[in-house]
């Protein structure tokens, strides 16, 4: 994946705390595991029935029956545990997962996300996206600020179907970090190599500035 996605993953990882049980979505969010700050021990939950998923094994050590929810081979971290699908999702909906990091197609002005279906195409996959959104204690969106075609992903209203009514708590892109309160998005930080003006013109919904934000 590109340098930008690694950069986003690094920025997301700063928000993880010691002992957190984390569920990382497919794609960009998976990279977050590589950037967990030193000295911070987190436990990776994967919804197909495991907590304590470890790093990708060497090719000769791959166990075809040990995979994550992206169907990629993983390993057992210290203290790993296996459980059934119903228990895995009881953990998720029951608020036992500290942080879910999700990729998105779009985020709206209230921080609600669309990440499971594209209009006009048959809807044939939802997986655990809706459960993670409603259940995780904290939902962090990890996304590029723009689509590959250069269109803003943070918009007033999602044109893609919403994944749920619950807003995300934090939205992290390569340019900015937004928190979400009941009135909508609050710009918390502009990335060091970006500018406030860039963020303002490439975010297609109104947002407020955090009191802590220094606008240069």
């Amino acid at each position: 994946m590109s340098e930008v996605t690694h950069d986003i993953a690094r920025r997301v990882a700063q928000h993880l705390g010691p002992g957190d049980m984390i569920n990382l979505g497919i794609g960009l969010p998976t990279l977050v595991a590589d950037y967990v700050p030193e000295g911070v021990k987190v436990f990776l939950h994967t919804e197909n029935g495991m907590v304590g998923a470890g790093p990708t094994p060497e090719p000769e050590k791959v166990d075809p029956e040990l995979i994550n929810a992206g169907k990629l081979p993983v390993t057992e971290d210290v203290g790993a545990a296996y459980f059934s699908s119903s228990e895995s999702f009881a953990m998720i909906r029951g608020g036992h997962v500290s942080v879910a990091v999700l990729g998105v197609l779009q985020v709206d002005q209230l921080g609600r996300i669309a990440n499971w279906a594209i209009p006009g195409k048959p809807i044939l996959g939802v997986g655990g996206a809706m459960d993670l959104l409603v259940g995780a204690k904290t939902v962090i969106v990890a996304t590029t600020h723009l689509t590959r075609k250069g269109e803003p992903k943070i918009v007033e209203e999602c044109s893609f179907p919403l994944t749920g009514a619950r807003p995300a708590d934090l939205i992290v892109t390569e340019h900015a970090t937004f928190s979400v309160d009941q009135d909508g998005l609050v710009l918390e930080e502009v990335a060091p190599d970006s500018t406030y003006d860039w963020v303002r013109s490439h975010t297609h919904t109104p947002f407020r500035n955090s009191a802590a934000l220094e606008v240069v």
Binding site: G25, I26, G27, T46, E47, N48, G49, M50, V62, D63, P64, E65, L66, I67, N68, A69, G70, K71, L72, P73, Y82, F83, S84, S85, S86, S88, F89, A90, I92, R93, A117, P122, I123, L124, G125, V126, G127, G128, A129, M130, D131, V134, G135, P161, L162, T163, G164, A165, R166
Partner: protein, 249 residues
Amino acid sequence: MVEVPRMDGLSSGRIRSKVISVEEAVALVEPGSTVMVGGFGLVGSPLTILDALLTSENATDLTTISNNVGEPGKGLGRLLLGGRIRRAIGSYFTSNPDVMERHRSGELVTSLVPQGTLAEAIRAGGAGLGGFYTKTGVGTDLAEGREVREIDGESYLFEKPLRADIALIRARKADTLGNLTYYKTARNFNPDMATAADIVVAEVDEIVEAGALDPEHVVTPHPYVDYVVQAEIRLGKGDEPLLDRAGGG
């Protein structure tokens, strides 16, 4: 047509083995059966029985309850290509393009359920519950036409339980009574499905005598399991599931 002996559990004080052949297992599936199939992709899927179902004239017009429809041309995906599946209930079909194609042509009816709701509906079906309320899916396209209830100020969606005529599951070890242990992430939906079908058949890598499994290690207790089949197909290194770019399970 293979005759399957019905199990009477205890006969003349002796414990009868639940072990049957693959052919006998396949004969339990009837035209129009609703079949639960364990697995996340191919991992934890009863691949031996699924392949054998293709040889059965009776395994037609099936409704499957399974997270995916296997992988393209593998597991349940083979039965799909064989025209045996009429309806598929699951959470993630996108990883199998054959499902897309048959959905488009109208040969296959699909019902999409969030993965946690699928698992819990199966659990509820096996636990004698009439359904449950979940926050998952509220306010989405999947909630259309469904009952929403306010509980303590929050909105929940009503979900009905799921049951099947037969569950085909996969486990690591069985004893001859039907106690089951599992292997790593091949566990997934299998323990849930073991509770929620009229007939439960477990395909296993290894069969041991009753008493050989540590009772502390048993995940699915034997009363849930009707039959045990020795697996002949196990996921090898060549069958590693590949990254699904569109998203996971």
